[in-house]
Amino acid sequence: MNPALLSLLTPLATAILMLLCRSRAAVWTIAASLLSLVAAIAALYQVTTDGSQLIHLGGWESPLAIRFRVTALSALLLAFTALIHLLVGLYAARSRHSQTRNTDYWPLSCFLHASLASLWLSTDLFNWYVILELLGLTAVALVSLAGTKAHRAAFNYLLLSLAASLCYLLGVALLYGRYGVLDSLLLADMLEADHTTRTALLVITLGLMLKAALWPLHLWLPPAHAGAPTAVSALLSALVVKGPLFVLWMLWSQVAPVELGRQAGPAMAAAGVAALVSAGWSACRTPHIKTLVAYSTVAQLGYALLALGMLLRWGVRELHVALWLFVFAHGLAKASMFLAAGEMQSTLGSKKVSALRGATQTVPVAMFAFAVAGGSLIGLPPSGGFLAKWVLLQPLLLEPSHWPWALGVLLGTLASAAYVFRVIALSFDRAPPPRPDYNPDPVAQWLTLLPALLVWGMALGGETLILWMSGVAY
């Protein structure tokens, strides 16, 4: 069997069997993530040696059936998804505070994994719609695991997600009406810059931006991500918002006519800068820990949007690398940050940022994880976030006329530094006497640190990674 398919099948089958046998075993999920990771790495190896491959589902030829495409990027995304699930699963299995005991967290997270894996592989516009719905419903179910207090956020999340899907579907319907095919690779050769295409792309883009919580359509994200159980928040921020982003990237960079991309690029880039600044500002103002981290996700997605916009505008190849490096670095860092924030919040017994006073003394390792992850979000060297920013900045600084965009990156850096250090500064305060139920769990805290260490480890192989990513086909 093709290893990429195995990487997709493993979590799907595990989820079903787990539901059937009524076992909520963390062990199975972790084993499935591990197997999926190994399969994804095998797929990556295969792709790098043999080049990207197309899988015709059902054996039918392309306009009729759905196709999967395994490229270096999709294999990398498969591996990344499995890795994040593995890391989060380890934490969720260990921590008392992961809010996963006695719930359907494990099968649902497997479904989440499977739907993301199929998203990376698919190339079909309608198939993406079904996957996005699956992803959205799974995410909502996971958010509502947190109990009744999260239901309002879950409801709003569901509604917006549905509305976004319907925007997307309307656009897809228009495109199908215009060109008669649904396969994005076939569409790539057919699209013309006429009014119908333009409108369809506009509607699709709005839908996807809403789903990916890209500024200014991000307002649903902070309550949903902050209200979810800790492990779920990590998965949502690290992975789920990246799904629609992937579709957006595919559509604009591979399918849409170049001249439309040129026109849309600056608008997207401007939205990206606005996201960096405004969400950064909100993160500095919010009184709650997890809301802060959630706003940081919105802000960091601004980098990706900026990279995408500039990519469309100038067609510089490095910006693909920058975009995906941001996604990987942010995923790892944000997983760590959410886990650390949740662990600290539960250990200290308060959702407020102010409760983190003296956290370096009461929950030192989790606080360290928060800081290390934050360092990568700011883009301090030598972290994954720094690599991404380095690659992004070069094309921005190449021409003096592009420099204003670099200023946007500068502002984003400062904003992220502000909200990260807002927490860190507080944690060096002298701690208040511990609460009576204070009972820290060092192992869980170390597990929150794991993804953050990996994101800094990314930098060790930075040169290889960047050169490899610049070399692979997009």
Binding site: I16, G58, L64, I66, F111, N127, A141, T196
Partner: protein, 301 residues
């Protein structure tokens, strides 16, 4: 008679818009739901008018039937009937107005365009194992979509399971309802089975059949013939999961032993499709029944 056709189309179109508006702006929630169900029925009529009988069946069963039942049961359970009317919002009016023009101009040239796909479907229909093109697309050409869609139904149930349980017990049924229910239930089984079987070569199929069966299931549960259904009962779980399970198993086996992911071996297409449809019907029927009638609470006691 183009004039009569236009009259019909015009009336139908306006009725649809009016019903939609009424559902959104009705004075009470109850009225809104009634308007909405009427809208569903009109939609089914429209699909039939547009030459899509599969959809007409599906809409009548799913859109109007199940959604209506869900809406009413929500109204009943949550005891909601207070309703603040929507305040006229200038943005909410202006934005759709502009968007309408934009979208309409975008859609203007579309009736002239032609897709190569229908011809391809027809060309490969004989290899697909079924003779009804819609079923061929659903369960063969685009079977992966359908697999994911069955998963969506499952996830909806899993999601509902995480929430509050439905309120209280089923009310005591009237005698008349008891009698009707006993009559209705076997009927639904027959109709559902017929729809399923017919789906291979004429309009009909798993979803329609599953929905009809679910209606029977709901009726039986309401009159108390069916015992309370719960996730903890393994037959229920097996029924709910059967569709996805068989589908995934077929996908895995074809990928592992056969020629590729969901590539049915020549000759056994029809058997496999029937098997999948049968299981999917069972799953959808059980899942929808559980979604409407709810189940015993077991999470977080």
């Amino acid at each position: 008679m183009p004039d009569a056709e236009w009259l019909f189309d015009g009336t139908l179109g306006i009725l649809l818009l009016v019903l939609a508006g009424a559902a959104l702006h009705a004075r009470s929630l109850y009225a809104a739901v009634v308007m909405f169900i009427a809208l569903g029925l009109m939609l089914a009529l429209t699909w039939a008018r547009l030459g899509a009988p599969d959809l007409a069946l599906a809409e009548a069963a799913i859109g109007a039937g199940v959604t209506g039942a869900l809406l009413f049961s929500t109204l009943y359970k949550a005891g909601m009937d207070r309703h603040k009317r929507a305040t006229p919002n200038r943005i909410a009016l202006l934005l759709p107005g502009l968007a309408f023009l934009l979208l309409l101009t975008a859609a203007w040239p579309l009736p002239e365009m032609h897709s190569p796909l229908p011809d391809q479907v027809m060309a490969h229909l004989k290899d697909s194992g079924v003779s009804h093109p819609v079923t061929a697309v659903l369960l063969n050409f685009r079977a992966w979509d359908t697999l994911l869609e069955v998963s969506v139904v499952l996830i909806a149930l899993l999601g509902v399971r995480q929430l509050y349980p439905s309120h209280g017990e089923v009310p005591t049924p009237w005698p008349l309802m008891l009698a009707w229910g006993r009559l209705l239930a076997p009927l639904t089984v027959i109709v559902g089975g017929y729809l399923l079987w017919r789906g291979t070569d004429a309009p009909g199929g798993a979803f329609q059949a599953g929905t009809v069966l679910a209606a029977g299931g709901v009726a039986l549960r309401l009159i108390g013939v069916l015992p309370p259904l719960g996730w903890h009962q393994w037959p229920v779980r097996l029924l709910v999961l059967a569709g996805v399970l068989v589908f995934v198993a077929v996908a895995a086996l074809t990928a592992w032993l056969g020629q590729g992911w969901l590539h049915y071996p020549t000759g056994s297409s029809k058997v496999l499709i029937l098997l999948i449809e049968l299981m999917a019907t069972a799953s959808i029927a059980t899942t929808l029944t559980l979604l409407v009638v709810g189940e015993k609470r077991e999470l977080r006691p």
